[in-house]
Assembly symmetry: C2
Homo-oligomer: 222 residues x 2
């Protein structure tokens, strides 16, 4: 196999592993949310312990990215693929961490659900959408189909709408204790950040395929 073919084989492996990290981070988010709403301490533990697998994939991917660069001085487009790959690794690692934050909150409250039922429902909906966002982002990495960005954007809008609605609910005078307001604020923030990172993954795929960052709103994901 010549160097060029070896290089492209490495790029494919990088894509496969990024897709796997997306799957794992989406799964972690869904489980964390279920642990939270059902007060399931065992499931929370599972998410926290499972983060090691995501971190191992990260370590392997980083080494693979650098090995790939060392394989041959890459051309501009190839270099871009590896740079984007490294940035995606960071996004995915962070998504796993955010799921762990939610699981840690669930474990802390166990066996009592962390939130009153009405707020828990909203956080669950946000978390479910986050799981979907991770799946779509993984699918974009796998297929390199920029069109999937639309679906990503719609789901992320839904997360934002739920988030705004939650703040309106929380600020009804005297509705909840400060403890509940703090918890719900942080949990929603974790979901929102998770969604931002998933959108950022999609954005990088679009950049790789088209050479341009997509809509302006994507540029606002910070």
């Amino acid at each position: 196999m010549d160097m060029r073919a070896a290089f492209h084989q490495q790029l494919e492996l990088i894509g496969d592993e990024l897709t796997e990290m997306s799957r794992l981070s989406g799964q972690a988010m869904r489980r964390a949310i279920r642990a939270l709403s059902e007060g399931d301490g065992g499931l929370a533990e599972q998410v926290i312990a499972g983060d090691a697998e995501i971190d191992n994939l990260r370590d392997g991917l980083e080494i693979r990215c650098f090995d790939t660069l060392a394989l041959q001085a890459p051309l501009a487009g190839d270099l871009r693929s590896v740079t984007a790959g490294l940035r995606m690794v960071f996004d995915l690692e962070r998504m796993g961490d955010l799921a762990v934050h939610i699981a840690t909150d669930a474990r802390l409250r166990h066996p009592v659900p962390a939130l009153p039922a009405d707020l828990s429902l909203v956080i669950c909906q946000m978390g479910e959408l986050c799981g979907e966002l991770a799946d779509v982002a993984g699918e974009m990495i796998r297929t390199r189909d920029p069109e999937l960005g639309t679906s990503l954007e719609l789901d992320d809008d839904r997360v934002d709408t739920l988030h705004r609605g939650l703040f309106r609910t929380l600020t009804r005078p005297g509705a909840y204790s400060a403890e509940v307001v703090i918890d719900a604020t942080l949990l929603a923030r974790y979901c929102e950040r998770f969604g931002d990172h998933a959108v950022s993954l999609g954005q990088r795929v679009v950049f790789l395929v088209t050479g341009r960052y997509p809509a302006r709103r994507f540029a606002e994901v910070i």
Copy 2:
């Protein structure tokens, strides 16, 4: 100049630019906190606009890191320096973003300070410590002195203590409106994350110099 000398010159430039990013992110945090506590909309704007400079440094640094790798297939230790450099770029970029979040909150409330005076004071103290954390992290990058990690850890402990105290204050029954609780929770979270990233910078310096991650608590920074 031979390849090896050129490589090391590049590594030095990477270090200089990372130090500069630390300085700018610390400055951004201090200004954002001042904008928040004084209700200074102009200063908030300055922080938000100034983030472009941090992002430009990031773009330049990423390219420099990859160019440096392309310069010669690096040895293990050199590879580690460049990997660590890239990760530090992400930490520093995120620190700038967190300062922007605080400045955005300040702008939103302008000309009224965002928080009651007692809470504002605690957030200010957290922000001041964050500015210091960025400076110490920058100094660690510049000097490669792992001993500075102790000072970083102490300051970060102070941030955590303030954070816990703030939560106790916020949860005094009926003390604050839900809006204020939400705002204070998020602002404190931004400061705490900023501190985490600064600690992470120090951790990477220690790793570069000693080949090992420092104390266990450093490993918990996620």
